[in-house]
Protein backbone atom coordinates (compact mmCIF):
# COMPACT_ATOMS: atom_id res chain seq x y z
CA UNK A 1 0.00 0.00 0.00
CA UNK A 2 2.78 2.42 0.92
CA UNK A 3 4.53 1.47 -2.29
CA UNK A 4 1.40 2.05 -4.36
CA UNK A 5 1.00 5.46 -2.77
CA UNK A 6 4.63 6.30 -3.42
CA UNK A 7 4.31 5.28 -7.05
CA UNK A 8 1.07 7.24 -7.44
CA UNK A 9 2.78 10.24 -5.90
CA UNK A 10 5.60 10.04 -8.40
CA UNK A 11 3.16 9.77 -11.29
CA UNK A 12 1.25 12.75 -9.97
CA UNK A 13 4.39 14.86 -9.68
CA UNK A 14 5.20 14.04 -13.29
CA UNK A 15 1.69 14.97 -14.46
CA UNK A 16 1.69 18.13 -12.37
CA UNK A 17 5.04 19.16 -13.83
CA UNK A 18 3.99 19.31 -17.47
CA UNK A 19 0.43 20.43 -16.70
CA UNK A 20 1.85 23.42 -14.84
CA UNK A 21 3.86 24.44 -17.89
CA UNK A 22 0.72 24.37 -20.02
CA UNK A 23 -1.55 26.04 -17.45
CA UNK A 24 0.84 28.83 -16.51
CA UNK A 25 1.22 29.81 -20.16
CA UNK A 26 -2.54 29.90 -20.63
CA UNK A 27 -2.95 32.07 -17.51
CA UNK A 28 -0.19 34.42 -18.58
CA UNK A 29 -1.78 34.93 -21.98
CA UNK A 30 -5.24 35.43 -20.52
CA UNK A 31 -3.90 37.84 -17.93
CA UNK A 32 -1.95 40.04 -20.28
CA UNK A 33 -4.02 39.87 -23.49
CA UNK A 34 -7.44 39.30 -21.93
CA UNK A 35 -8.00 36.54 -24.47
CA UNK A 36 -8.81 32.91 -23.76
CA UNK A 37 -6.58 31.10 -26.22
CA UNK A 38 -8.45 27.94 -27.17
CA UNK A 39 -5.57 26.93 -29.41
CA UNK A 40 -3.22 26.68 -26.44
CA UNK A 41 -3.54 22.89 -26.43
CA UNK A 42 -2.54 22.88 -30.10
CA UNK A 43 0.65 24.74 -29.18
CA UNK A 44 1.38 21.79 -26.88
CA UNK A 45 0.62 19.44 -29.77
CA UNK A 46 2.92 21.34 -32.16
CA UNK A 47 5.72 21.11 -29.59
CA UNK A 48 5.33 17.33 -29.62
CA UNK A 49 5.39 17.25 -33.44
CA UNK A 50 8.59 19.30 -33.51
CA UNK A 51 10.12 16.36 -31.62
CA UNK A 52 8.57 13.93 -34.11
CA UNK A 53 10.16 15.85 -36.98
CA UNK A 54 13.53 16.81 -35.54
CA UNK A 55 14.25 13.87 -33.24
CA UNK A 56 12.32 10.92 -34.68
CA UNK A 57 12.43 11.72 -38.42
CA UNK A 58 15.66 13.70 -38.79
CA UNK A 59 17.39 11.89 -35.93
CA UNK A 60 18.90 15.00 -34.44
CA UNK A 61 19.73 15.03 -30.72
CA UNK A 62 16.66 15.16 -28.44
CA UNK A 63 17.91 18.24 -26.57
CA UNK A 64 18.13 20.09 -29.86
CA UNK A 65 14.57 19.02 -30.74
CA UNK A 66 13.28 20.24 -27.38
CA UNK A 67 15.06 23.58 -27.78
CA UNK A 68 13.67 23.87 -31.30
CA UNK A 69 10.16 23.20 -29.95
CA UNK A 70 10.57 25.96 -27.37
CA UNK A 71 11.67 28.54 -29.92
CA UNK A 72 9.41 27.44 -32.77
CA UNK A 73 6.20 27.25 -30.73
CA UNK A 74 7.09 30.53 -29.04
CA UNK A 75 7.32 32.02 -32.52
CA UNK A 76 3.94 30.49 -33.43
CA UNK A 77 2.58 32.26 -30.34
CA UNK A 78 3.99 35.56 -31.57
CA UNK A 79 2.47 34.92 -34.99
CA UNK A 80 -0.95 34.33 -33.38
CA UNK A 81 -0.61 37.59 -31.47
CA UNK A 82 0.33 39.62 -34.53
CA UNK A 83 -2.11 38.03 -36.94
CA UNK A 84 -5.15 37.53 -34.71
CA UNK A 85 -5.06 39.05 -31.25
CA UNK A 86 -3.53 42.43 -32.13
CA UNK A 87 -6.18 43.30 -34.75
CA UNK A 88 -8.88 42.10 -32.32
CA UNK A 89 -7.47 43.90 -29.29
CA UNK A 90 -10.74 45.65 -28.48
CA UNK A 91 -12.70 42.46 -28.93
CA UNK A 92 -11.63 39.60 -26.60
CA UNK A 93 -14.54 37.43 -27.73
CA UNK A 94 -13.37 37.83 -31.32
CA UNK A 95 -9.92 36.73 -30.18
CA UNK A 96 -11.42 33.62 -28.63
CA UNK A 97 -13.32 32.75 -31.80
CA UNK A 98 -10.23 33.38 -33.92
CA UNK A 99 -8.24 31.07 -31.65
CA UNK A 100 -10.78 28.30 -32.26
CA UNK A 101 -10.26 28.80 -35.99
CA UNK A 102 -6.51 28.65 -35.48
CA UNK A 103 -6.92 25.42 -33.50
CA UNK A 104 -8.68 23.76 -36.45
CA UNK A 105 -6.07 25.04 -38.90
CA UNK A 106 -3.26 23.66 -36.74
CA UNK A 107 -4.91 20.25 -36.51
CA UNK A 108 -5.52 20.19 -40.27
CA UNK A 109 -1.97 21.25 -41.19
CA UNK A 110 -0.43 18.68 -38.85
CA UNK A 111 -2.75 15.97 -40.17
CA UNK A 112 -1.80 16.80 -43.75
CA UNK A 113 1.89 16.78 -42.97
CA UNK A 114 2.11 13.84 -40.57
CA UNK A 115 -1.15 11.92 -40.99
CA UNK A 116 -3.83 11.36 -38.38
CA UNK A 117 -2.47 8.16 -36.89
CA UNK A 118 -0.53 8.12 -33.68
CA UNK A 119 3.15 8.91 -34.03
CA UNK A 120 5.65 6.78 -32.24
CA UNK A 121 8.53 8.76 -30.81
CA UNK A 122 11.39 6.43 -29.90
CA UNK A 123 12.36 6.59 -26.24
CA UNK A 124 15.16 9.00 -25.42
CA UNK A 125 16.33 6.75 -22.62
CA UNK A 126 15.08 3.40 -21.36
CA UNK A 127 16.70 3.80 -17.98
CA UNK A 128 14.55 3.48 -14.90
CA UNK A 129 15.47 4.44 -11.39
CA UNK A 130 14.37 1.53 -9.21
CA UNK A 131 13.53 2.87 -5.79
CA UNK A 132 12.02 -0.38 -4.60
CA UNK A 133 10.43 -3.38 -6.24
CA UNK A 134 7.16 -1.59 -6.95
CA UNK A 135 8.33 2.03 -7.00
CA UNK A 136 10.04 2.99 -10.22
CA UNK A 137 10.79 6.29 -11.87
CA UNK A 138 11.73 6.24 -15.54
CA UNK A 139 14.61 8.64 -16.09
CA UNK A 140 12.75 10.51 -18.81
CA UNK A 141 9.95 11.27 -16.37
CA UNK A 142 12.51 12.59 -13.93
CA UNK A 143 13.86 14.77 -16.74
CA UNK A 144 10.38 16.19 -17.35
CA UNK A 145 10.00 16.96 -13.65
CA UNK A 146 13.39 18.63 -13.33
CA UNK A 147 13.03 20.60 -16.57
CA UNK A 148 9.61 21.86 -15.48
CA UNK A 149 10.94 22.95 -12.11
CA UNK A 150 13.84 24.75 -13.81
CA UNK A 151 11.57 26.47 -16.33
CA UNK A 152 8.95 27.53 -13.79
CA UNK A 153 11.61 28.84 -11.39
CA UNK A 154 13.19 30.86 -14.19
CA UNK A 155 9.79 32.26 -15.09
CA UNK A 156 9.18 33.09 -11.45
CA UNK A 157 12.47 34.96 -11.13
CA UNK A 158 11.83 36.73 -14.42
CA UNK A 159 8.40 37.88 -13.24
CA UNK A 160 9.67 39.01 -9.84
CA UNK A 161 13.03 40.55 -10.64
CA UNK A 162 13.12 41.83 -14.19
CA UNK A 163 11.67 45.02 -15.54
CA UNK A 164 9.68 43.18 -18.21
CA UNK A 165 8.51 40.68 -15.62
CA UNK A 166 7.03 43.53 -13.63
CA UNK A 167 5.54 44.93 -16.78
CA UNK A 168 3.85 41.57 -17.46
CA UNK A 169 2.41 41.40 -13.96
CA UNK A 170 1.32 45.02 -14.05
CA UNK A 171 -0.35 44.51 -17.44
CA UNK A 172 -2.18 41.42 -16.24
CA UNK A 173 -3.54 43.39 -13.28
CA UNK A 174 -4.56 46.54 -15.18
CA UNK A 175 -3.67 46.81 -18.84
CA UNK A 176 -4.77 50.40 -19.26
CA UNK A 177 -2.93 51.61 -16.15
CA UNK A 178 0.13 49.74 -17.43
CA UNK A 179 -0.01 51.62 -20.72
CA UNK A 180 -0.11 54.85 -18.69
CA UNK A 181 3.29 53.88 -17.24
CA UNK A 182 4.78 53.70 -20.73
CA UNK A 183 4.39 49.94 -21.15
CA UNK A 184 3.60 49.13 -24.77
CA UNK A 185 0.60 46.82 -24.89
CA UNK A 186 1.77 45.52 -28.26
CA UNK A 187 5.22 44.60 -27.04
CA UNK A 188 4.06 43.12 -23.77
CA UNK A 189 1.47 41.00 -25.60
CA UNK A 190 4.18 39.66 -27.89
CA UNK A 191 6.32 38.75 -24.89
CA UNK A 192 3.39 37.04 -23.16
CA UNK A 193 2.48 35.04 -26.27
CA UNK A 194 6.09 34.02 -26.79
CA UNK A 195 6.43 32.78 -23.22
CA UNK A 196 3.01 31.10 -23.25
CA UNK A 197 3.75 29.39 -26.57
CA UNK A 198 7.27 28.40 -25.60
CA UNK A 199 6.09 26.81 -22.35
CA UNK A 200 3.31 24.86 -24.08
CA UNK A 201 5.75 23.83 -26.83
CA UNK A 202 8.41 22.60 -24.45
CA UNK A 203 5.74 20.73 -22.44
CA UNK A 204 4.72 18.94 -25.64
CA UNK A 205 8.34 18.24 -26.51
CA UNK A 206 9.17 16.92 -23.06
CA UNK A 207 6.24 14.52 -22.96
CA UNK A 208 6.29 13.46 -26.62
CA UNK A 209 8.39 10.31 -26.04
CA UNK A 210 6.06 9.24 -23.20
CA UNK A 211 2.58 9.76 -24.62
CA UNK A 212 0.70 9.13 -27.83
CA UNK A 213 1.41 11.97 -30.24
CA UNK A 214 -1.52 12.72 -32.52
CA UNK A 215 -3.13 15.82 -34.04
CA UNK A 216 -5.87 15.89 -31.40
CA UNK A 217 -3.73 15.49 -28.32
CA UNK A 218 -4.26 19.15 -27.41
CA UNK A 219 -7.75 18.36 -26.16
CA UNK A 220 -6.73 16.47 -23.07
CA UNK A 221 -4.37 19.13 -21.81
CA UNK A 222 -6.60 22.07 -22.60
CA UNK A 223 -9.51 20.66 -20.57
CA UNK A 224 -7.18 19.98 -17.67
CA UNK A 225 -5.58 23.41 -18.04
CA UNK A 226 -8.98 25.11 -17.86
CA UNK A 227 -9.92 23.17 -14.75
CA UNK A 228 -6.60 24.10 -13.19
CA UNK A 229 -6.99 27.76 -14.02
CA UNK A 230 -10.55 28.01 -12.80
CA UNK A 231 -9.72 26.20 -9.58
CA UNK A 232 -6.60 28.28 -9.11
CA UNK A 233 -8.17 31.59 -9.95
CA UNK A 234 -8.10 33.09 -13.38
CA UNK A 235 -5.21 35.50 -13.78
CA UNK A 236 -3.15 34.29 -10.86
CA UNK A 237 0.13 32.70 -11.92
CA UNK A 238 0.89 31.46 -8.43
CA UNK A 239 -2.59 29.97 -8.27
CA UNK A 240 -2.12 28.14 -11.57
CA UNK A 241 1.01 26.41 -10.34
CA UNK A 242 -0.49 25.39 -7.00
CA UNK A 243 -3.77 24.32 -8.60
CA UNK A 244 -2.08 22.25 -11.30
CA UNK A 245 -0.11 20.35 -8.71
CA UNK A 246 -3.24 19.76 -6.64
CA UNK A 247 -5.28 18.76 -9.68
CA UNK A 248 -2.63 16.41 -11.01
CA UNK A 249 -2.49 14.68 -7.65
CA UNK A 250 -6.24 14.24 -7.39
CA UNK A 251 -6.48 13.10 -11.00
CA UNK A 252 -3.64 10.62 -10.80
CA UNK A 253 -4.78 9.18 -7.49
CA UNK A 254 -8.33 8.65 -8.76
CA UNK A 255 -7.14 7.20 -12.07
CA UNK A 256 -4.91 4.78 -10.21
CA UNK A 257 -7.47 3.60 -7.69
CA UNK A 258 -10.62 3.85 -9.79
CA UNK A 259 -10.76 5.07 -13.32
CA UNK A 260 -9.68 7.90 -15.64
CA UNK A 261 -13.22 8.93 -16.57
CA UNK A 262 -14.21 9.23 -12.92
CA UNK A 263 -11.09 11.35 -12.42
CA UNK A 264 -12.22 13.76 -15.17
CA UNK A 265 -15.68 13.94 -13.65
CA UNK A 266 -14.24 14.66 -10.23
CA UNK A 267 -12.04 17.38 -11.75
CA UNK A 268 -15.03 19.08 -13.36
CA UNK A 269 -17.07 18.70 -10.16
CA UNK A 270 -14.22 20.29 -8.24
CA UNK A 271 -14.23 23.16 -10.71
CA UNK A 272 -17.98 23.67 -10.25
CA UNK A 273 -17.65 23.52 -6.48
CA UNK A 274 -14.97 26.18 -6.50
CA UNK A 275 -17.01 28.35 -8.86
CA UNK A 276 -19.99 28.15 -6.55
CA UNK A 277 -18.12 28.69 -3.29
CA UNK A 278 -15.54 31.22 -4.49
CA UNK A 279 -16.23 32.47 -8.03
CA UNK A 280 -12.81 34.14 -8.29
CA UNK A 281 -10.98 30.85 -7.79
CA UNK A 282 -9.04 29.67 -4.77
CA UNK A 283 -6.24 32.18 -5.30
CA UNK A 284 -7.96 34.78 -7.44
CA UNK A 285 -8.67 38.34 -6.39
CA UNK A 286 -12.05 39.95 -6.77
CA UNK A 287 -11.14 42.39 -9.53
CA UNK A 288 -10.13 39.58 -11.86
CA UNK A 289 -13.40 37.69 -11.72
Amino acid sequence: MVELLAQTGLNAIYAAAYMSLVAVGLVLVFGVLGVINFAHGELFMIGAYVVVAVFADFQMPYVLAAAAALVFVGAVGVLMERAMFAPLRENPLGGLVASIGFLLICQALVSVQFGVRMEHVPPVTQEVIVISEKVRLPVHRLTVILASIALLSSLWIFLRKSKFGWALRASSQDREAASLQGISISRISIIAMFIGGALAGIAGALTAPLISVNPHMGHSVIVAAFIVIIVGGVGSLEGAVVASIAYAFVHTVITTFWDGVIADIVGLALMLAVLIVKPTGLFGTADRA
Binding site: R169, E176, S179
Partner: protein, 235 residues
Amino acid sequence: MLLEVDNITVAFGKVSAVKGISINVRDGSIVTIIGANGAGKSTTLRAISGLEKLREGQIRFAGEVISDLPPDKIVGRGIAHVPEGRRVFPDLTVEENLRTGAFLRKDLDQAEADLRSVFESFPRLSERLGKNAKTLSGGEQQMLAIGRALMAKPKLLLMDEPSMGLAPVVVDEIAVIIRKICAGGVPVVLVEQNAQLALRLADYAYVLETGRVALEGDPDALLDDDHVRAAYLGV
Protein backbone atom coordinates in the same frame (compact mmCIF):
# COMPACT_ATOMS: atom_id res chain seq x y z
CA MET B 1 2.01 76.89 -24.79
CA LEU B 2 2.97 73.50 -23.33
CA LEU B 3 -0.26 71.68 -24.09
CA GLU B 4 -2.79 72.66 -26.73
CA VAL B 5 -6.01 70.70 -26.96
CA ASP B 6 -7.49 72.02 -30.16
CA ASN B 7 -11.21 71.58 -30.74
CA ILE B 8 -11.34 67.83 -30.03
CA THR B 9 -14.31 65.53 -30.39
CA VAL B 10 -14.49 62.06 -28.87
CA ALA B 11 -17.41 59.74 -29.46
CA PHE B 12 -18.50 56.35 -28.15
CA GLY B 13 -20.49 54.84 -30.97
CA LYS B 14 -23.05 57.46 -31.92
CA VAL B 15 -22.81 59.43 -28.70
CA SER B 16 -20.27 62.24 -28.51
CA ALA B 17 -18.87 62.55 -25.00
CA VAL B 18 -16.60 65.47 -25.92
CA LYS B 19 -17.86 67.92 -28.52
CA GLY B 20 -15.21 70.34 -29.69
CA ILE B 21 -13.27 71.11 -26.52
CA SER B 22 -10.20 73.38 -26.55
CA ILE B 23 -7.89 73.64 -23.55
CA ASN B 24 -4.50 75.28 -23.15
CA VAL B 25 -1.91 74.72 -20.46
CA ARG B 26 1.09 76.96 -20.05
CA ASP B 27 4.30 76.11 -18.25
CA GLY B 28 4.26 76.48 -14.51
CA SER B 29 0.50 76.52 -14.08
CA ILE B 30 -2.28 74.47 -12.54
CA VAL B 31 -5.24 74.24 -14.86
CA THR B 32 -8.45 72.72 -13.60
CA ILE B 33 -11.37 71.18 -15.43
CA ILE B 34 -14.55 71.01 -13.39
CA GLY B 35 -18.02 69.80 -14.25
CA ALA B 36 -20.82 67.47 -13.23
CA ASN B 37 -21.00 63.69 -13.63
CA GLY B 38 -20.65 62.69 -17.25
CA ALA B 39 -19.63 66.15 -18.45
CA GLY B 40 -16.66 64.67 -20.33
CA LYS B 41 -13.80 65.51 -17.96
CA SER B 42 -12.25 62.06 -17.82
CA THR B 43 -12.76 61.53 -21.52
CA THR B 44 -10.81 64.73 -22.21
CA LEU B 45 -7.90 63.59 -20.04
CA ARG B 46 -7.99 60.11 -21.56
CA ALA B 47 -7.86 61.64 -25.03
CA ILE B 48 -4.75 63.61 -24.07
CA SER B 49 -3.10 60.37 -22.87
CA GLY B 50 -4.04 58.50 -26.03
CA LEU B 51 -6.52 56.17 -24.30
CA GLU B 52 -9.37 57.53 -26.43
CA LYS B 53 -9.12 58.22 -30.14
CA LEU B 54 -10.12 61.60 -31.46
CA ARG B 55 -12.89 61.86 -33.99
CA GLU B 56 -11.92 65.43 -34.73
CA GLY B 57 -9.37 67.98 -33.62
CA GLN B 58 -5.75 67.79 -32.61
CA ILE B 59 -3.61 67.71 -29.48
CA ARG B 60 -0.14 69.26 -29.43
CA PHE B 61 2.42 68.92 -26.68
CA ALA B 62 5.51 71.15 -26.64
CA GLY B 63 4.63 72.13 -30.18
CA GLU B 64 4.38 68.57 -31.56
CA VAL B 65 1.24 66.71 -32.54
CA ILE B 66 0.69 63.79 -30.13
CA SER B 67 -2.90 62.89 -30.91
CA ASP B 68 -1.90 60.03 -33.23
CA LEU B 69 0.43 58.35 -30.74
CA PRO B 70 -0.35 55.31 -28.55
CA PRO B 71 -0.43 55.86 -24.75
CA ASP B 72 3.06 54.47 -24.07
CA LYS B 73 4.62 56.90 -26.57
CA ILE B 74 2.76 59.81 -25.02
CA VAL B 75 4.19 58.87 -21.62
CA GLY B 76 7.57 58.89 -23.34
CA ARG B 77 6.96 62.47 -24.47
CA GLY B 78 6.53 63.49 -20.83
CA ILE B 79 2.84 63.32 -19.94
CA ALA B 80 1.95 61.29 -16.84
CA HIS B 81 -1.64 60.50 -15.92
CA VAL B 82 -3.04 59.73 -12.48
CA PRO B 83 -6.22 57.98 -13.58
CA GLU B 84 -9.69 58.18 -12.11
CA GLY B 85 -10.07 55.60 -9.35
CA ARG B 86 -6.27 55.54 -8.77
CA ARG B 87 -5.74 52.27 -10.65
CA VAL B 88 -2.68 51.16 -8.70
CA PHE B 89 -1.56 47.61 -9.46
CA PRO B 90 -3.27 45.73 -6.62
CA ASP B 91 -0.93 42.73 -6.44
CA LEU B 92 2.32 44.60 -6.93
CA THR B 93 4.05 45.94 -3.85
CA VAL B 94 4.23 49.65 -3.17
CA GLU B 95 7.83 49.70 -4.33
CA GLU B 96 7.06 47.72 -7.50
CA ASN B 97 4.18 50.07 -8.30
CA LEU B 98 6.52 53.05 -8.02
CA ARG B 99 9.23 51.43 -10.10
CA THR B 100 6.71 50.59 -12.78
CA GLY B 101 6.17 54.33 -13.09
CA ALA B 102 9.81 54.65 -14.13
CA PHE B 103 9.45 51.97 -16.80
CA LEU B 104 10.69 54.09 -19.70
CA ARG B 105 13.49 55.86 -17.89
CA LYS B 106 17.11 55.34 -18.84
CA ASP B 107 18.61 57.56 -16.12
CA LEU B 108 18.50 54.83 -13.48
CA ASP B 109 20.58 56.63 -10.86
CA GLN B 110 18.34 59.65 -11.05
CA ALA B 111 15.29 57.36 -10.85
CA GLU B 112 16.66 55.86 -7.60
CA ALA B 113 17.05 59.37 -6.23
CA ASP B 114 13.48 60.19 -7.30
CA LEU B 115 12.25 57.04 -5.56
CA ARG B 116 13.86 58.25 -2.34
CA SER B 117 12.32 61.68 -2.74
CA VAL B 118 8.87 60.14 -3.33
CA PHE B 119 9.31 58.25 -0.06
CA GLU B 120 10.31 61.51 1.63
CA SER B 121 7.23 63.27 0.30
CA PHE B 122 4.99 60.32 1.20
CA PRO B 123 6.40 58.86 4.41
CA ARG B 124 3.39 56.58 4.78
CA LEU B 125 4.32 54.84 1.54
CA SER B 126 7.85 54.12 2.76
CA GLU B 127 6.37 52.40 5.81
CA ARG B 128 4.43 50.11 3.49
CA LEU B 129 7.17 49.56 0.92
CA GLY B 130 6.81 45.78 0.68
CA LYS B 131 3.02 45.57 1.06
CA ASN B 132 0.74 44.86 -1.87
CA ALA B 133 -1.01 48.01 -3.04
CA LYS B 134 -4.47 46.51 -2.48
CA THR B 135 -3.84 46.53 1.27
CA LEU B 136 -3.45 50.32 1.37
CA SER B 137 -6.18 52.76 2.41
CA GLY B 138 -7.82 54.96 -0.23
CA GLY B 139 -5.68 57.95 0.69
CA GLU B 140 -2.51 55.89 0.58
CA GLN B 141 -3.48 54.44 -2.79
CA GLN B 142 -3.99 57.96 -4.11
CA MET B 143 -0.53 58.95 -2.84
CA LEU B 144 0.86 55.83 -4.50
CA ALA B 145 -0.83 56.68 -7.80
CA ILE B 146 0.61 60.19 -7.64
CA GLY B 147 4.06 58.91 -6.65
CA ARG B 148 3.97 56.39 -9.49
CA ALA B 149 3.19 59.16 -11.98
CA LEU B 150 6.02 61.32 -10.59
CA MET B 151 8.44 58.41 -11.05
CA ALA B 152 8.06 58.94 -14.80
CA LYS B 153 9.68 62.36 -14.33
CA PRO B 154 6.87 64.02 -16.29
CA LYS B 155 6.83 67.41 -17.93
CA LEU B 156 3.06 67.57 -17.39
CA LEU B 157 0.86 65.77 -14.87
CA LEU B 158 -2.78 64.93 -15.53
CA MET B 159 -4.85 64.15 -12.42
CA ASP B 160 -8.38 62.77 -12.53
CA GLU B 161 -10.36 63.41 -9.34
CA PRO B 162 -7.56 62.84 -6.83
CA SER B 163 -9.87 63.87 -3.97
CA MET B 164 -12.57 61.33 -4.77
CA GLY B 165 -13.73 59.33 -1.76
CA LEU B 166 -11.14 60.75 0.61
CA ALA B 167 -11.59 62.24 4.08
CA PRO B 168 -11.28 66.06 4.31
CA VAL B 169 -7.90 65.85 6.08
CA VAL B 170 -6.50 63.69 3.31
CA VAL B 171 -7.95 66.02 0.67
CA ASP B 172 -6.02 68.87 2.29
CA GLU B 173 -2.85 66.78 2.11
CA ILE B 174 -3.45 66.11 -1.57
CA ALA B 175 -3.95 69.85 -2.17
CA VAL B 176 -0.58 70.60 -0.58
CA ILE B 177 1.04 67.91 -2.75
CA ILE B 178 -0.47 69.33 -5.94
CA ARG B 179 0.88 72.80 -5.12
CA LYS B 180 4.29 71.33 -4.41
CA ILE B 181 4.34 69.42 -7.70
CA CYS B 182 3.60 72.59 -9.62
CA ALA B 183 6.12 74.60 -7.61
CA GLY B 184 8.65 71.89 -8.45
CA GLY B 185 8.26 72.76 -12.12
CA VAL B 186 5.62 70.26 -13.27
CA PRO B 187 2.40 71.87 -14.48
CA VAL B 188 -0.80 70.05 -13.55
CA VAL B 189 -4.14 69.52 -15.26
CA LEU B 190 -6.54 68.82 -12.42
CA VAL B 191 -9.94 67.29 -13.11
CA GLU B 192 -12.26 67.62 -10.13
CA GLN B 193 -15.86 67.36 -9.02
CA ASN B 194 -14.77 69.12 -5.86
CA ALA B 195 -14.97 72.59 -7.44
CA GLN B 196 -14.20 74.39 -4.21
CA LEU B 197 -10.84 72.62 -3.96
CA ALA B 198 -10.05 72.88 -7.64
CA LEU B 199 -10.77 76.59 -7.96
CA ARG B 200 -8.72 77.30 -4.83
CA LEU B 201 -5.68 75.56 -6.36
CA ALA B 202 -5.84 76.50 -10.01
CA ASP B 203 -4.40 79.35 -12.04
CA TYR B 204 -6.97 78.87 -14.78
CA ALA B 205 -10.23 76.94 -14.93
CA TYR B 206 -12.54 75.35 -17.47
CA VAL B 207 -16.12 74.41 -16.71
CA LEU B 208 -17.45 71.52 -18.82
CA GLU B 209 -21.12 70.89 -19.41
CA THR B 210 -22.30 67.95 -21.56
CA GLY B 211 -19.10 67.72 -23.53
CA ARG B 212 -18.53 71.42 -24.16
CA VAL B 213 -16.61 74.20 -22.43
CA ALA B 214 -19.42 76.23 -20.87
CA LEU B 215 -17.17 78.75 -19.15
CA GLU B 216 -13.48 79.42 -18.69
CA GLY B 217 -11.32 81.95 -16.97
CA ASP B 218 -9.66 83.06 -13.81
CA PRO B 219 -10.71 80.80 -10.90
CA ASP B 220 -11.39 83.78 -8.62
CA ALA B 221 -13.75 85.23 -11.18
CA LEU B 222 -15.51 81.85 -11.51
CA LEU B 223 -15.83 81.65 -7.72
CA ASP B 224 -17.88 84.86 -7.97
CA ASP B 225 -19.89 83.72 -10.97
CA ASP B 226 -23.54 83.17 -10.06
CA HIS B 227 -24.01 80.18 -12.33
CA VAL B 228 -20.85 78.47 -11.04
CA ARG B 229 -21.82 79.20 -7.45
CA ALA B 230 -25.27 77.74 -7.91
CA ALA B 231 -24.30 74.74 -10.01
CA TYR B 232 -20.95 73.67 -8.56
CA LEU B 233 -20.41 75.26 -5.19
CA GLY B 234 -23.90 74.72 -3.82
CA VAL B 235 -24.23 78.29 -2.58
